[in-house]
Amino acid sequence: MDTALLIKEAKKGSAAAQKCLFDQLSGRLLLVCRRYVKNQEDAEELLLDGFYKFFKNLAAFTYHGEGALYNWLKTIMVNECLMFLRKKNAFTIVSETAAADVPLEEEALNNLSAAEIFKLVVQLPVGYRTVFNLHVLEGMEHREIASALGIAEGTSKSQLSKAKSMLQKMLLNKGTDYVKRQSK
């Protein structure tokens, strides 16, 4: 079924259309939530909260394509996750002096599959993971991240460098598999 038509019907309050939209988008959006929140149940709860807000404010939404719809929903989900993390006060603060710029072997990461990257990112501690997600995957500046999370800009930078160094270590630990794949 066409997404534009689904949006139109969902705006009218059709439960079937809403269910179709939910089935269509919930999988990907749950992964977005999981990137920020490690716990599966929490991520599902946040997904439902995000969809609830989406359907409640659907009247204000004008459909400009599937990409716009997904981005809007993703923004809602990210905001929900950040609110959740802020409530839990889950960010570990690392002093700026302790942070050193760690070069990350990005080629190595490029060679990994999406699922492997996801599994690596999920293993990061919550502070590192959040800043890594926001900076690397969402493309936010450190200033924006600092204001969004209520932390200092330097803290955001240090968290990112720590996250990169940790990913580096993880890649080294997975070295055998990685080497095998390179040789192929």
């Binding site: 939910f22 992964l31 999981r34 409640k56 990005e106 490029n110 996801f118 995957l137």
Partner: protein
């Protein structure tokens, strides 16, 4: 270098966005939808109006009304009269100017038994001259007097300059009565001790003739009654 980083990050982004089936094994879509649908269809619970707020507002209203009523009932103790101050004469060299207060005490008018007509006339006079000073009031006037005018400088009185004229109403003193025993009253009203001013008289028959008698004053020494005959009636 920066471009490479951006390209790499966008690469991961697209990779991660295309992920669909990483967590699908544990995610029950239908159950999640049921939950969401229940939340969407559930009517929002209207918050009950806080009764405590209503009670607080009511109490405040009552307190405000009470204060207003109390303010209206209590008259001001000291009134500032609208009388203009006396003009201050121009200062001369060598003269000492001292503010002097003159206190006029108007004695209360003794209470007299007035006829209703006189009382009415008094009331009309009072209405005509409202600015007249009531009896029993003290008037303090602030004056500036030079040494030329006064042969002897009177001692200056301490006054409040901001209150040039003040009328202080004297309150009526309640009359107190002495407690008297009832026997004292009876003794006072005994007929033997009361000095009679009028001579009692009564009719008397003597030899089939009617006489009008006058009773003389009874003396305490002897109980004899002397009768004086008269030809009245």
């Amino acid at each position: 270098m920066l471009n490479d980083n951006q390209n790499n990050s966008t690469g991961w982004k697209t990779k991660l966005d295309s992920l669909n089936d990483v967590c699908d094994d544990t995610f029950d879509r239908s159950a999640a939808w049921d939950k969401l649908h229940h939340r969407l269809t559930k009517k929002p619970v209207r918050k009950k109006f806080g009764w405590y707020w209503a009670a607080a507002a009511f109490l405040l209203l009552i307190a405000a009304i009470g204060l207003l009523i109390n303010n209206d009932r209590q008259p001001p103790l000291v009134r500032q009269t609208t009388q203009p101050l006396m003009p201050v004469p121009a200062r001369k060299q060598g003269t000492v100017k001292q503010p002097v207060s003159i206190i006029k005490i108007i004695p209360p008018v003794p209470v007299e038994s007035k006829t209703p007509l006189a009382k009415k006339a008094d009331q009309t006079n009072k209405q005509k001259s409202n600015h007249e000073v009531l009896p029993g009031t003290v008037i303090i006037e602030n004056l500036v007097v030079t040494n030329d005018n006064l042969p002897m400088a009177p001692p200056p009185l301490a006054i409040i300059d901001s209150v040039p004229v003040a009328n202080v109403n004297t309150t009526k003193v309640k009359q107190t009565y002495r407690v008297v025993h009832i026997n004292e009253i009876i003794k006072q009203t005994e007929p033997s001790r009361v000095a009679r001013t009028e001579k009692p008289s009564f009719p008397l028959k003597f030899n089939a003739k009617k006489f009008h008698t006058e009773m003389p004053v009874v003396s305490a020494a002897h109980s004899l009654v002397t009768i004086r005959l008269s030809t009245q009636n």
